[in-house]
């Protein structure tokens, strides 16, 4: 019998999608073992969140009414207290920026093994976790040789649970040790403010690491101009300061859904794909035939962008 405690996630008044994916992953993990799926909702509008999370497969939702926004010190205390109370086999969390801000501390505090960024879970008495390594070039299976574990799941790998259910909702009796809260969230800021909104563009020419040098950005800008498209980029280009942050497509940048997305010299790391997989038509130009970008591309050119792009510009001038 495996009981699962899944920690849901919210930000600025809304539950995040990964919360619903955790329900699916948690229900799978409980499977036929006869165990229970517990959800924890910590902070914010806990009653509203609990209502939204009253889904099929969930047995009990534990609400912890403490603070409006995420604070990892509060989360660690609440989760360790819930663990002591419920004694679950597995704690599941999202492999998100906030998930990685508390899950490792929870595992350490409870002396449990931690497996992060799971893309697959199998539980036949022993938990087996599928993970990626070396920038997704290699996949691995990690066997958890322990009775209990903390696991974080990659967002968008599991379907979001939708079917309604009737779990019990219980307010968890928990007293926060204020002296152990040593960080304070003072606000949020949206990145951007530039004159270009890439999420509004119909056609995006997007440039990645393959462009090699800052002075080569001009080449893809010329292509964008010739096509009447807007120029965007993957993360390394912004990290290098070659384009402003508001041009960045991906998990930490903008999510875009243009009619046409032309990826030039972008390998297609998972964080990038999260921001553009909704594009209607995806075209990729890359020297590496195994680049993950081709897995989601509709059209591909395996070739050197410095050969292909000038030829393409010529045909639109």
């Amino acid at each position: 019998m495996s009981d699962v405690l899944a920690i849901t996630e919210h930000r600025r008044g809304d539950l995040r999608d990964v919360s619903f994916e955790l329900v699916t992953a948690g229900a799978d993990l409980v499977g036929d073992t006869g165990g229970d799926l517990h959800l924890a909702v910590i902070g914010g509008d806990v009653d509203g969140f609990a209502e939204a999370l009253s889904l099929d497969g969930v047995d009990t939702i534990h609400t912890v009414s403490e603070g409006d926004e995420f604070n990892h010190d509060v989360y660690v205390q609440a989760i360790t207290a819930l663990y002591e109370e419920l004694d679950p086999t597995y704690i599941l969390a999202g492999n998100t920026v906030n998930g990685l801000d508390y899950a490792p501390a929870v595992a350490e505090a409870l002396d449990l093994p931690l497996v992060t960024d799971a893309v697959g879970l199998q539980n036949d008495g022993t938990l087996e976790v599928t993970r990626e390594m070396y920038a997704s070039k290699v996949e691995s299976t990690v066997e958890v040789d322990a009775d209990r574990a903390v696991v974080t799941i990659r967002p968008s790998e599991w379907d979001a649970a939708e079917a309604a259910g009737e779990p019990a909702v219980e307010a968890f009796d928990f007293t926060l040790d204020e002296s152990r809260v040593r960080s304070r969230v003072t606000g949020f800021e949206e990145v951007g403010g530039g004159d270009v909104d890439i999420s509004e563009a119909d056609v995006l020419v997007s440039v990645g690491r393959g462009i090699e040098e800052e002075e080569n950005i001009e080449l893809v800008q010329n292509l964008a101009d010739a096509l009447g498209a807007t120029l965007s980029s993957s993360r390394p280009i912004v990290d290098n300061g070659w384009l402003p942050k508001d041009r960045q497509v991906g998990q930490s940048g903008k999510v875009v859904t243009p009619k046409v997305y032309l990826a030039v010299g972008i390998s297609g790391a998972v964080q990038h794909v999260a921001g553009m997989k909704g594009a209607e038509t995806i075209i990729a130009i890359n020297t590496d035939p195994d680049a993950p970008i081709f897995d989601i591309a509709d059209y591909g050119i395996v070739g050197d962008l410095f050969d292909v792009v000038p030829e393409l510009i010529e045909r639109f001038e």
């Binding site: 801000d101 070039k137 996949e139 066997e143 990145v191 942050k245």
Partner: protein
Amino acid sequence: MKVLVTVKEVAEVEEDFQLDGLRVAEQYLDYDLNEWDEYAVEAAVQIAEENDDVEVVSATIGPERSEETIRMALAKGVDRAVRVWDDALDDVDLLDVGAKTRLLSAVVEEEDPDLVLTGVQANDDSFGATGVSLASAIDFEWAAVVNDLDLDVDGAVANVRRELEGGVEELTEVDLPAVLTIQTGINEPRYASLRGIRQAQSKEIKPMTLSDLGLDGSAVESDLVLTDVYEPETESDATYFEGDAGTQAAELATVLREKGVGSQ
């Protein structure tokens, strides 16, 4: 004030490679300093430049081979380094977060830093968890995925921005001592100067074994077992344009025009 910055030499896998058991065969691996750690090192060196009496020490877990990479951090302004390795680590396929935490905790005990900087993750096994786990073990406060750092040494507070998903940043005050995991893009990592490279040759890289750290073989044992490593199946159903660049571009141009691109 002492800043400890953890660094890791990581292997990048070449485009074409072969597996050898549970590892990528050695000849397809290129070793370099972990990308995130480049930014953590730069952040640490900047703190030393902006404040008086700051010592920057880097800690790494790695075999002797990694000294070349560690020396690059020394060339950029890190004062000295500690390198943890032990025969017991030679045959470990997966050094999990718990094991790294135990080793680095022992280094922290030895060095007694006021601030620890780590990269958000390493681009080999990508657990992304060691910094926060370490903070919990040594009872430091922490912040994960920091892309802006303003240190108030007198107030014993780090004012940070955490890079959340979707272009949102969280502004947070973190009490010191703390562990901060540093995101790429927080700064512009410098290139080592020739002078720096020369000076790095005489800087100390102190090797430490498990027993030097007061640990035994159990410290690197793990409940996680790597049982399989394989190449993911490619799922591509893309239509590829073949031929020379001119032919490829011509075919792509036709598709783009069909989609209404460039036809204003």
